[in-house]
């Protein structure tokens, strides 16, 4: 479904990704872990089409389409969703109006009929229940005055509404207490399916107790330096990243 090959990217004069390769099959959940500054959030931003980054080499193909040719809007229409590490507050735009506009904009670009008011509200209700989002939060301005946990739940709520093929979760666990973490994980898990893949970016293993990945990758120095099964996350939690980064360095030498 997603194939990243030898990706190099920079922001300004700073090289951040230096030959990253990664493949995700349909229905798989991959976790990306790694030390601070290794390029995890850059990868998420590039997948979603943020224009601050310049891809200098390599390719990304999504369902056979060259993703780098698409802008942020077109990527969402193609089925990519990024749950932001820092969701943006938009005063004056209600959550509901925001979602209705987004959903119908996507449907229009896919040449589908707009959702009826009744169907839309039924969907809002079902998706809000999934992440236990209060009715009041649905009517408030997007993310304005939301707590950290509410913002992240709102991201998963939007994900449930938009039903992407590939969801990228960028440190969705940061700033969450145990209860919120459980709610968010429950939302994600109930969306897992044969046609939907997840790329879960996180610092900590604890999220992966709740969202159990099929594969775990270590991103360091702008490249995937090690991959393994779900047990790799536990090993990293115990031993840190240094042993992998050092082993990789030795191999390179």
């Amino acid at each position: 479904m997603l194939k990243i090959d030898n990706l190099h990217a920079r922001i300004g004069d700073t090289e951040i990704l230096k030959g990253l390769s990664l493949e995700l099959g349909a229905g798989e959940v991959h976790a990306i872990m790694g030390p601070n500054g290794s390029g995890k959030s850059t990868l998420a931003s590039i997948l979603a089409g943020r224009e601050d980054y310049e891809v200098t080499q390599g390719s990304i193909s999504f369902d056979g389409v060259d993703l780098l040719e698409l802008d942020a809007t077109e990527r969402a229409v193609a089925g990519i969703f990024l749950a932001f590490q820092y969701p943006v507050e938009i005063p004056g735009v209600s959550n509901i109006n925001f979602l209705r506009t987004a959903l119908n904009s996507i449907r229009e670009q896919r040449a589908e009929e707009p959702l009826s008011g009744k169907d839309f509200l039924a969907k809002v209700k079902a998706c809000a229940q999934l992440v236990e989002l209060d009715g009041k939060l649905r009517d408030r301005s997007v993310n304005e005055g939301f707590s950290g946990g509410e913002k992240k739940r709102n991201e998963v709520f939007q994900m449930a509404m938009l039903e992407p093929k590939l969801a990228v979760l960028d440190e969705t666990d940061s700033g969450l207490d145990i209860d919120a973490l459980r709610i968010v994980a429950h939302g994600v898990n109930s969306m897992r399916g044969a046609d939907r893949s997840f790329l879960v970016i996180t610092h900590y293993q604890r999220l992966l107790d709740h969202i159990v990945p099929d594969f775990v990758h270590v991103l360091a120095g702008g490249r995937i330096v090690h991959s393994g099964g779900k047990e790799l996350a536990l090993e990293l939690e115990e031993k840190g990243y240094d042993w992998i980064v050092d082993a990789e360095a030795a191999e390179q030498a």
């Binding site: 943020r50 809007t73 990024l82 943006v88 004056g92 925001f98 987004a102 904009s105 670009q109």
Partner: protein
């Protein structure tokens, strides 16, 4: 940058304008003070603080041609149930006068009011600007027809008034005067709508003079939707009595070159004034909102909110003066001005002016000018919105605070004008 208007130039402008207005038809006698003021006052130049960013020299070129054909313009906000009056280039052309007799409500053209009830207009109808500003003096020295709303004490005007002033194709001048008098404990709502054809040029020099009695209430919505290249000067003056309530909302939907002077005088205690405005110049348009509120008595409140966007190479000016007089204690006055620049060559000049001579007051002002939040735009696009849909939503959100105060049909109209002009629908 300095412009020098030789006396012959602006005297010649005054002569051209007065002649054209007189040929088309004036209402009432010119104010004697206005004629004197026109001689005595300086023509505005950028050397004067009040005109620092506003180049009035370009108006010296205004040359009216033949008088306008009096054809009815297209109806505006058809869905609004209102007492409707239509004026074309300073002349009344349609609208049925509401006349309940000498003791009752009157809503109709100023020309008719002057014939029927000259004594009811005498005491208050002179524009206070007319002795202070050259263009206001010009207006008062050759006044033309506008709407007159007289609501006697204790009455409530049941339907809103919609006065529509239209400028047709060609170089015309119009100097309408609108008069509003709300008696003690009376109330009324009105919409003043000015628009143009896209081939209109010349000058619109309009005055609104309104007084709101003790315990009375007036709500006024001013819509300026003027394509074409007309220069628009507005002199809007309001006087409020004790415990009165005034709301003035101004939407400059479209204007080639426009200056609004809004002045509110709280001439009694416990008066409450709300004045909001929005503007969105694009291309090389120019929009200037100058406001002033005088808190002359204790316990008054005022709430001012102006929001605007300047796109392309356009210029917007906001100048908000709050004057709290000595002994006007326990005043609460709030002013907020927020601007977005949408073009690299767009300019915004914003100046709050607070003069406070009382010691027990609460005043605040905030003024910001910034750009679109790129992060918000990316967020919306990452959810599948096109750039157009995302921009539209962000502008709507930015202006909502101001636009949501208008009647829904007017709000929707203004928003669609904005969106169309920016190419977003």
């Amino acid at each position: 940058m300095n412009e020098v208007a030789t006396p012959t130039q602006h005297a010649a402008l005054a002569a051209r304008v007065s002649e054209a207005c007189a040929a088309a038809g004036l209402v009432g006698e010119p104010q004697a003070e206005a004629l004197e003021a026109l001689e005595a006052l300086d023509y505005p130049t950028t050397r004067q603080e009040r005109w620092k960013y506003t180049r009035a020299a370009r108006l010296l070129k205004v040359t009216p041609t033949a008088s306008a054909p009096l054809q009815a313009p297209p109806v505006v906000v058809e869905s609004l149930d209102a007492l409707r009056f239509t004026f074309v280039a300073g002349q009344h052309i349609s609208g049925e006068t509401l006349d309940e007799g000498a003791e009752g409500c009157f809503v109709g053209p100023v020309s008719v009011a002057l014939e029927r009830y000259p004594e009811r207009l005498k005491a208050w109808s002179n524009s206070a600007f007319a002795t202070q500003e050259w263009f206001a003096a010009l207006q008062a020295s050759a006044p033309q027809d506008g709407v007159c709303i007289l609501v006697p004490a204790g009455h409530k005007l049941q339907r809103p008034v919609l006065a529509h002033h239209h400028m047709p194709d060609g170089a015309h001048v119009a100097q309408p005067r609108h008069l509003v008098h709300i008696g003690d404990h009376a109330s009324a709502e009105a919409v003043l709508w000015s628009d143009n054809t896209s081939h209109a040029e010349g000058m619109m020099n309009a005055a609104i003079t309104a007084s709101v009695g003790n315990g009375a209430s007036l709500s006024l919505e001013i819509i300026q939707d003027e394509p074409g290249t007309v220069h628009h000067m507005g002199h809007h003056h309001f006087t409020q009595g004790s415990n009165s309530n005034l709301t003035v909302r101004t939407a400059t939907a479209c204007a080639h070159w426009l200056r609004n002077d809004l002045h509110i005088l709280q001439d009694g205690t416990h008066a409450d004034s709300t004045f909001h405005g929005c503007y969105l110049p694009n291309g090389d348009q120019f929009v200037d909102h100058h406001t002033r509120i005088d808190h002359a008595h204790p316990d008054g409140q005022s709430n001012e909110l102006y929001k605007g966007l300047a796109a392309d190479k356009s210029t917007a000016v906001f100048n908000g003066k709050i004057m709290v007089h000595k002994d006007a204690q326990r005043i609460e006055a709030y002013q907020s001005n927020r601007n977005l620049l949408l073009g690299e060559q767009a300019a915004m000049y914003a100046k709050p002016e607070l003069e406070i001579y009382a010691d027990d007051v609460r005043c605040s002002h905030g003024c910001t000018t910034g750009q679109f939040d790129k992060e918000a735009l990316f967020y919306l696009r990452s959810r599948g919105m096109t750039e157009t849909a995302a921009n539209n939503l962000l502008v709507q959100a930015f202006l909502a605070e101001v636009l949501d105060g208008f009647r829904p049909e007017i709000r929707d109209h203004v928003h669609s004008v904005f969106a169309r002009r920016l190419g977003w629908i």
